[in-house]
Amino acid sequence: MKILSVDDSAIIRKIICGCVDVLGYDFLEAENGQQALDILSDQYQDVQLILLDWNMPVMDGYETLTKLKADDRFKEIPVMMVTTESEKTNIIAAMKAGAKHYVVKPFSQEDLTSRIVECMGLAV
């Protein structure tokens, strides 16, 4: 089973990869929303969780989220926003659009791992 990280920062994707490794999942990565949709078209049946940044070139996180939730193939995959956008209006907009969890950067690897466990309903 796989977890997909969508973030234009390679460093953030590497940090998230470390969290995913600890949990024993396979890691997929995309630099923007469009790349994420392309990856999901082939592999959506194996993806258990999507971690989604907000500010990205090509296709931002909010647009990606709305596209994911409008597509029958992807809409049941839980989405966790992982972003520097911490204004209440953004958090509400993301939750209304179907995000399950919202994590504001900065985060520690321990905290993010815990949030992934919580989001996926895994036993600790």
Binding site: D8, S9, G18, T84, K105
Partner: protein, 166 residues
């Protein structure tokens, strides 16, 4: 509404970036940084070998934030972000890490600055400039420019703010 004196940057903005820098490096890189002081400058010049620049726009005005690091400090911080050794940090890691730090610090600061504003501040995507003695062009001269100096393990890096009030 408050009026900002020409050539100054208000304390709210300075405190927001000072606290954001400490918080982001503490949380993401488990690195304690010490605020060593601030000084006003007329030139917007990088102080280190690698710099990341990000634009910020809001109701009160707009400006530019620049983080500037000596290469060894950049490697140290990025190694801590990744949980690796400094020797394992690649040039790509350094550039990407310093860009993401500018994004996270500015994002954290803008939340503090936007409290009570109808429209939150907006950020551009970060740009990274690399090379000893590099410079930045296109900066609006004669705008308030503040350099904040932070210490990490006996070394320094800077966070510069150039902000033009509406």
């Amino acid at each position: 509404m408050t009026t900002q004196a020409a050539g100054t940057i208000d304390a709210e903005l300075v405190n927001a970036f000072m606290n954001a820098t400490t918080e982001v490096l503490g949380t993401m890189a488990q690195t304690e940084v010490n605020f060593k002081g601030a000084k006003a400058e007329t030139d917007f010049k990088p102080t280190g070998d690698i710099s990341s620049v990000i634009g910020i726009t809001g109701q009160k005005g707009s400006g530019v934030v620049m983080l500037s690091f000596p290469i060894n400090v950049a490697s140290l911080i990025v190694s801590r972000l990744l949980g690796t050794t400094e020797a394992q940090v690649t040039s790509e890691d350094r550039c990407d890490g310093i860009g993401e730090l500018a994004n996270m610090i500015s994002g954290n600061a803008k939340t503090k600055m936007s409290a009570g504003d109808e429209e939150p501040y907006k950020l551009s995507l970060p740009s990274v400039i690399l090379g000893t003695g590099h410079s930045i062009s296109g900066h609006p001269n004669n705008q308030p420019n503040l350099i904040m100096v932070f210490g990490v393990d006996e070394e320094d890096f800077t966070v510069q703010l150039c902000f033009k009030y509406n």
